[in-house]
């Protein structure tokens, strides 16, 4: 599947009264990728998304959707977009299916079959004829997605889609979004203030803070470039012995830290350049007669550090839940 740029944002600005909220924001999003839009609360994620989907006016700058200017060619541009902004609010007095029919009538080429297809896809077949007033937040979120992809848009924009979902729901959502991007070539833009979520879901991440784009990176680059150390989690039978062994091996290197988490878990922190030593370390552990259950790379924590580093200010750091 060839990739193309489907969403181009150039020099976008937005003020509320005298407050300059979005500052000269430019981004390019491609088909077939899950694009994370990451920033602490109040960074301007929702404001940016609202401008892309036509809820807020643009002060200056331009938004192009599949080559169509949003302001000059509104209906054609919007035909390529589906989205959920903030909470998924539906008509409570209608059923799930009736709600989808409302949107089907407002868009081109949505057949009855397509409606059934999206209901199936988000797993609401048993609930489609129940009124929204009976739905949980998670179910409304899923119906929101069904609504957003109803007309097979090239761009799917979701503002904090995992809000209010339980872990199983988040996993399911992640699966749906990755499938849409990687198998159907949809450009999925997901905003979040949660680093850990982005890492599991996205191919690229844009970090925004106080209305300014700080950087856009692939997940791997973000982890590696912005962190000088790596962390590994060791599950062993004798944490004390392991700690002693590791500190003996690297007693000259101040970058190496071994911290006990609980009676079976130890977290090892090593500088990036020592990552190649890992096989050597593990061999030594076995030879010392310590029973090693698992070793795992603790990447999420690293990404979170990177995120805090990137978005923090002198007052004391970005806000992450």
């Amino acid at each position: 599947m060839s990739t193309e740029t489907v969403l181009t944002i150039e020099h976008l600005n937005k003020s509320f009264g005298k407050k300059h909220i979005i500052k000269d924001l430019s981004m390019e999003l491609n088909s077939g990728e899950v694009y994370g839009f990451l920033g602490p609360n109040g960074a301007g994620k929702t404001t940016t998304i609202k401008m892309i989907v036509g809820l807020l006016r643009i002060d200056s700058g331009s938004i192009k959707i599949c080559g169509k200017d949003l302001l000059k060619n509104y209906e054609e541009a919007m035909g390529n977009i589906g989205g959920i902004v903030e909470n998924p609010e539906m008509y409570k007095y209608l059923t799930g299916r009736q709600n989808l029919r409302q949107y089907a009538r407002m868009r081109k080429g949505v057949t009855q079959k397509r409606i059934e297809e999206v209901i199936e896809l988000v797993g609401l077949s048993n609930w489609a004829d129940k009124k929204i007033s009976k739905y949980s937040l998670g179910m409304r979120q899923r119906l929101g997605i069904a609504q957003a992809i109803l007309h097979r848009p090239k761009i799917l924009i979701l503002d904090e889609p995992t809000n209010g979902l339980d872990p199983a729901g988040i996993k399911q959502m992640r699966g749906i979004l990755r499938k849409l991007a990687h198998e159907e070539g949809v450009c999925v833009m997901v905003s979040s203030h949660l680093m850990s979520e982005m890492e599991l879901m996205c191919d690229r991440v844009a970090i925004i803070s106080k209305g300014e784009l700080i950087e856009v990176q692939t997940i791997e680059n973000l982890v590696n470039e912005n962190s000088s150390t790596q962390q590994y989690i060791y599950q062993v039978n004798d944490v004390e012995a392991l700690k002693k062994l590791l500190l003996d091996m690297y007693k000259d290197n101040e970058g190496v830290k071994a911290e006990q988490e609980d009676e079976r878990t130890l977290v090892l922190t090593i500088p990036n350049e020592l990552e190649k030593d890992l096989p050597k370390i593990n061999k030594a552990v076995i030879e010392a007669g310590i029973e090693l259950t698992t070793v795992s790379h603790k990447a999420a924590a690293k990404l979170e550090d990177a995120f805090i580093e990137l978005t923090s200010d002198e007052q004391g750091g970005g806000q992450i839940a």
Binding site: V53, L55, L56, E75, E89
Partner: protein, 375 residues
């Protein structure tokens, strides 16, 4: 656009509150008609009573050999010998024409020496004379005058059907209030429930969205009012018999009288009343498009409905001539058409112009507020 309007209809009718309101309206509508029938029965004349009345008149008239002269402003209009008239026209003691002759017979005494005064309202004897002569000459059994239908006189001509039917269609005013409630929430409820976001995120311009809501409101008002009108026919035929269906409305203009079938004449005045009521519905719609609060739009429109014309009267009492440009000074289109105006030289064209300008401004305001609003 039709799809958008269909969406609005679905949303309006799916709400439980709307269903309750419509059922209540329907019950009130039927109840009102039945109540009217019950209250009319007290004053209803039975066939026996009517026949007794006709017999008495007949006896009185056939023996009166005098010739009566009808004059106005000293000009002779008609002279008649009632006993001869009855004989010449083969009228017996059960003929409905007897009643009209009786009315003319009693009118003669009242008309003597009177001057023609077109502004003395229903008490104007010359007018009555013209109406009775028309009925007699054209052999009309059931009639009502235009003033009866337009609510300017208390009588309803010669039958209950005409009165009951016109009372029944006046229930449109209740329906208008239901419509004010719908119009006052059609935009603001999208904001109140948060559904506005999914509503906007569609490949449809905001202009089309707001126009579809407007068209849904206006068409629903027209359809609903039409249903009230049409339903009033069988209901009242059931309650008051079918004979009144042929009632003719006599429209008196100067010395000319035209007879129009009541169902057609009433439809015309019904349409004019609806046009006046559309003002409050559009007002609620306009307020709804920039209020975040549902109740505000409804309450203010109903308050204006209740107080608008009073406000104009107060201004009028203080000789404020500019008040003629206020929409509430121009809503009584039927009266204005007949020349019963509050302001000098307030023509029908002027009133329609003022209404059109207000309609345009209200729709423009709603459009502008909705298309520019930040969500």
């Amino acid at each position: 656009m039709l799809n958008l309007i269909k969406n609005e209809y679905i949303k309006i009718f799916a709400k439980t509150s709307m269903k309750v309101l419509l059922i209540l309206f329907f019950i009130t509508f039927i109840g009102f008609n039945i109540l009217m029938k019950v209250s009319m029965r007290d004053t209803d004349s039975t066939d026996v009573e009517i026949n007794n009345y006709r017999e008495r008149l007949y006896d009185e008239l056939k023996d009166d050999d005098k010739t009566y002269e009808y004059t106005i402003d000293g000009e002779k209009l008609w002279s008649v010998n009632f006993s001869k008239y009855i004989k010449d026209n083969d009228i017996d003691d059960e003929d409905p024409r007897i009643e009209t002759l009786g009315s003319l017979y009693h009118l003669e005494k009242n008309m003597k020496g009177k001057k023609y005064d077109p502004y003395s309202g229903s008490g104007n004897q010359y007018r009555s004379y013209l109406v009775y002569r028309y009925i007699l000459d054209n052999d009309i059994e059931y009639y009502a005058t235009d003033e009866d239908i337009d609510g300017m006189s208390s009588g309803y001509g010669s039958n209950d059907f005409a009165q009951a039917f016109n009372m029944s269609i006046s229930m449109e005013v209740l329906f208008m209030i239901v419509m004010v409630a719908i119009a006052g929430t059609i935009v603001s409820s999208e904001f109140a429930s948060g559904t506005i976001k999914f509503y906007i995120i569609n490949p449809v311009t905001r202009g089309k969205l707001i126009i579809s809501k407007l068209l849904a409101i206006v068409s629903l008002f027209i359809i609903g009012s039409g249903v009230i009108y049409v339903l009033s026919i069988p209901i009242n035929m059931l309650l008051h018999g079918t004979s009144g269906m042929g009632t003719q409305v006599l429209v008196v203009k100067g010395e000319d009288i035209t007879a129009i079938p009541m169902l057609i004449y009433s439809l015309k005045s019904y349409g004019i009343t609806m046009l006046g009521h559309l003002i409050y519905i559009l007002m609620a719609f306009m307020l709804s498009s920039f209020a975040r609060n549902n109740a505000l739009a409804i309450a203010s429109s109903i308050m204006l409905f209740a107080l608008g014309s009073t406000a104009v009267e107060i201004l009028l009492a203080f000789d404020q001539d500019w008040a003629r440009y206020i929409i509430f000074a121009n809503t009584n289109l039927t009266g204005i058409y007949k020349g019963l105006t509050q302001f000098p030289e307030q023509t029908l064209g002027f009133a329609l112009g003022v209404i059109a300008v207000h309609f345009f401004l209200m729709i423009l305001t709603a459009y502008d507020a909705f298309t520019r609003r930040e969500i």
